[in-house]
């Protein structure tokens, strides 16, 4: 839309990237923007490791016979794929990269409330990541990312304690990020930036932080119990000693279900920003979108046992959890309807971020609706532990969360790097990702419904599943290309991209009112907010110098 406004500007303004050089200026930085880039590097690394495992899984399933890897190797492959993608890519992805970069800028602060704790959280992530790598290289884990007891505590001979420790440490990093966001959003807002003027990206991150803060410690203590049980032979989850394996599942899913919302809520925040900007409209139903984020965070804590419908739980409990799982669909649907209403009669621009947002809308809706299938007791009993479940959560986590992440990376790349990415390539990549994604995961819905169980490396008893599996593997290859492309042209644009103007999208929001890339303290002087969020009608009105709708006295 606005590539033509590449305003020539002095090339080397001082900014957070060129202020200081050298390894130590990065490794000891307390600047939230530099820490965001450190996170970007490290999560991209783990994304490709996790992707490599996914590729091997898909290659194994290309043929019905188990011929590429052996059964226990396959178990380790899907386990490590899950652990790496969930704990080392998806959970930190948007909050730790885009959130870290944008939360202080969007509310008009110089930094997060606790810059050194922010750096500490990255180091914890790295320590957890190195442990995970070591665990992988020395044998890995074969329990599935859920490490269910008593298999994980009494039977498997793989590196449970080490993987648990890695996840415990990474979880601590996630808690510290959430803590920083909550305090920052409460205490660091610029004068005039009231709660009802916050960008919805901030509301989404606030809701995410609540889950990180209240959910992560529970999985942490669960991991402590598993490790203690394994190392010291306690017996808390061991049915032989009167312990209860179901208790493990309850404690595990109490975090790990809300963890899905840690992945999807920030993505929803990103999509909200993109949709408002590229349809040039104020978001429809601001307060509904804001409070639906909080509602998702709250309801998200009350639905965990829908992962356990066939685990031997009381049928009455299952009934309640089924009902509550339906309830989560309400705030999610509110969001989808409000985004659609925002698009309605908007002046829509089909730039790459918007293409990803469209992709998110469609894929998240499919993922959400199949979630309702799974919340229904009857259908869930039929499709439990089949590829239907695998397809469902990939539509949410990859189709939803990763689409939003890529959309956000494109949307804010000019701000982050000070360069424009090549728009044509970006649109092509968005298309490839969308096609590749659907080709990979839609066949899995069909496979699951026909009865293909998940976590099997050999389906030679059901050779008719092969066609759909070949489609899925082919799709994964396409998807892989779609993910490689942005990485290549983002790197390319850092050197050869056109310098970005301060506000290439003519977007609302404080982060666009400072230079690209911003200076270390974000703003030349402390901003005072006198306008409502998403004032696109105002920005686009021909009379640009019209006074802002209202002057609100500075409250602090």
């Amino acid at each position: 839309m606005s590539m033509e406004i590449a305003i020539p500007q002095p090339v080397e303004r001082e900014n957070y990237l060129n202020k200081k050089y050298g390894v130590w200026s990065w490794l000891l930085t307390t600047d939230h923007k530099r820490i965001a880039l450190l996170y970007l590097l490290s999560i991209t690394f783990f994304f490709f490791i996790g992707g490599f495992f996914a590729l091997l899984i898909r290659l194994e399933l290309l043929t019905p016979a188990g011929d590429l890897v052996q059964a226990d190797t396959y178990n380790k492959l899907f386990t490590m794929h899950g652990m790496v993608m969930v704990f080392f890519f998806l959970i930190p992805s948007i909050p730790a990269v885009l959130g870290n970069f944008l939360v202080p800028m969007m509310i008009g602060a110089k930094d997060l409330a606790f810059p050194r704790i922010n750096l500490l959280s990255w180091y914890l992530y790295v320590i957890g990541g190195v442990l995970m790598l070591h665990c992988m290289l020395t044998g890995g884990v074969d329990t599935g990312w859920t490490f269910y007891a008593p298999y994980s505590t009494n039977f498997t001979n793989t590196k449970i304690v080490e993987a648990g420790l890695a996840i415990f440490i990474a979880g601590f990093s996630s808690i510290l990020t959430g803590l920083n966001f909550v305090v920052t959003i409460h205490r660091m807002r610029a004068p005039g930036m009231t709660w009802s003027r916050l960008p919805l990206f901030i509301w989404a991150h606030y809701a995410t932080s609540i889950i990180q803060l209240l959910g992560t410690p529970v999985v942490a203590v669960t991991i402590v119990l598993v490790a203690a049980e394994r190392a010291l032979h306690l017996g808390i989850f061991d049915p032989k000693l009167g312990g209860d394996p179901l208790l493990f599942q309850h404690l595990f899913w109490f975090y790990s279900h809300p963890a899905v919302y840690i992945m999807i809520l920030p993505s929803m925040g990103v999509v909200t920003e993109i949709i408002a900007c590229f349809s040039r409209k104020r978001i429809f139903g601001y307060s509904f979108v804001a409070f639906s984020s909080i509602a998702i965070a709250v309801f998200g804590f009350l639905v965990w046992a829908h992962h356990m419908f066939v685990a031997g739980m009381s049928v009455y409990a299952a009934l309640v959890f089924s009902l509550l799982s339906y309830a989560v669909a309400v705030p999610s649907a509110i969001k989808v309807f409000n985004w659609t209403a925002t698009l309605y009669k908007g002046s829509i621009h089909y730039d790459a971020p918007m293409l990803y947002a469209f992709g998110f809308l469609g894929l998240f809706t499919v993922g959400g609706l199949t979630g309702l299938f799974l919340a229904a007791l009857g259908i869930d009993t039929h499709v439990t532990d089949t590829y239907f479940v695998v397809a469902h959560f990939h539509y949410i986590m990859v189709g939803g969360a990763v689409m939003g992440y890529l959309g956000g990376m494109h949307f804010w790349w000019p701000k982050i790097s000070g360069r424009l990415y090549p728009e044509g390539w970006a649109r092509l990549a968005a298309l490839i990702v969308f096609i590749g994604f659907n080709l990979t995961f839609f066949p899995q819905f069909l496979l699951g419904y026909m009865g293909m169980p998940r976590r099997y490396y050999d389906y030679s008893h059901m050779p008719e599943f092969q066609v759909l599996n070949v489609l899925s593997t082919a799709g994964a290859t396409v998807l892989g290309v779609g993910y490689l492309l942005p990485m290549i042209y983002f790197l390319w644009s850092m050197r050869y991209g056109k310098p970005a103007p301060d506000n290439p999208w003519n977007a609302a929001g404080l982060e666009w009112k400072t230079s690209s890339p911003p200076t270390t303290f974000n703003f030349e002087e402390e901003p005072v907010v006198t306008w409502e969020a998403y004032n696109y009608e105002e920005l686009d009105s021909p009379d640009k110098d019209a006074p802002h709708s209202e002057e609100v006295p500075v409250a602090r």
């Binding site: 930094d111 203590v221 402390e526």
Partner: protein, 234 residues
């Protein structure tokens, strides 16, 4: 100038005000809110353990009561008193920092640490007793012929009692770990106070360190009756 020192405010008279805060009040509010939020995560951390405790205590009440009888209530009660006293000295330390009473501040911090160490020492004695009595879960665990209180002739199931001791060691062990971290924090506070860093205008570290200490005490206030006083009658 390296980044770590660049974060310090330029004004000479307020070295403790970090660059990204508008004023000292905002900084204090942020630090204190940060500690409260952190304590909320700690509640959830221990909450998982309390949840496990609740489940098994309901299932195996008699066995839990028998196992609970075997731990030394007198030592537990002494430790409760020790921690309550330490909370008092923490409050005194905060008050002393706010009112610039240097000697009282140093003495209160030192006594708090002393009480913390006393707690850990008594805890150590309790753990040693459990080792001696073979009440530590694992291969050498033994809890044979221990009668269930109130049910003469009925013996506790050793396997279920082992779950009690598992929870006992995990819960008190994690609590003790928090105490050790608290001692580290208070040692740092003591050094800073010795150097005269705290003034009536700037004493946030004492305040939030104190919040942490009180939290660890409160966890013990729950642990003591839940672990030591199951089915005890006068």
């Amino acid at each position: 100038m390296p980044d770590s020192t660049a974060v310090l405010h330029q004004e000479e008279d307020r070295p403790e005000l970090l660059h990204h805060f508008a004023d000292a009040e905002q900084q204090r509010d942020a630090s204190s809110l940060g500690m409260w939020v952190f304590l909320a995560t700690e509640v959830m951390f221990f909450g998982g353990l309390f949840c496990a405790y609740l489940v098994y205590r309901r299932w195996y009440f008699g066995d839990f009561a028998a196992a609970s009888k075997s731990i030394n209530m007198a030592l537990g009660a002494t430790n409760t008193a020790v921690l309550i006293c330490s909370s008092l000295t923490v409050v005194l330390a905060v008050w002393a920092a706010q009112t610039a009473r240097r000697t009282l501040l140093l003495v209160s911090l030192a006594i708090t640490m002393l009480l913390g160490v006393t707690f850990l020492g008594i805890k150590g004695i309790e753990y040693r007793d459990k080792f001696v009595e073979h009440h530590v879960p694992g291969a050498s665990f033994s809890f044979e012929h221990e009668s269930i209180p109130g049910h003469p002739g009925q013996y506790a199931n050793p396997r279920h009692a082992q779950i009690f001791f598992s929870l006992y060691f995990v819960m008190t062990g994690l609590h003790a770990l928090h105490m050790i971290i608290g001692l580290g924090i208070f040692l740092w506070l003591l050094i800073m106070a010795w150097k005269g860093r705290f003034t009536p205008e700037y004493n946030t570290p004492i305040e939030i360190g104190g919040l942490y200490w009180h939290f660890v005490d409160i966890i013990w206030i729950y642990l003591f009756p839940l672990l030591y006083l199951i089915d005890r009658h006068p």
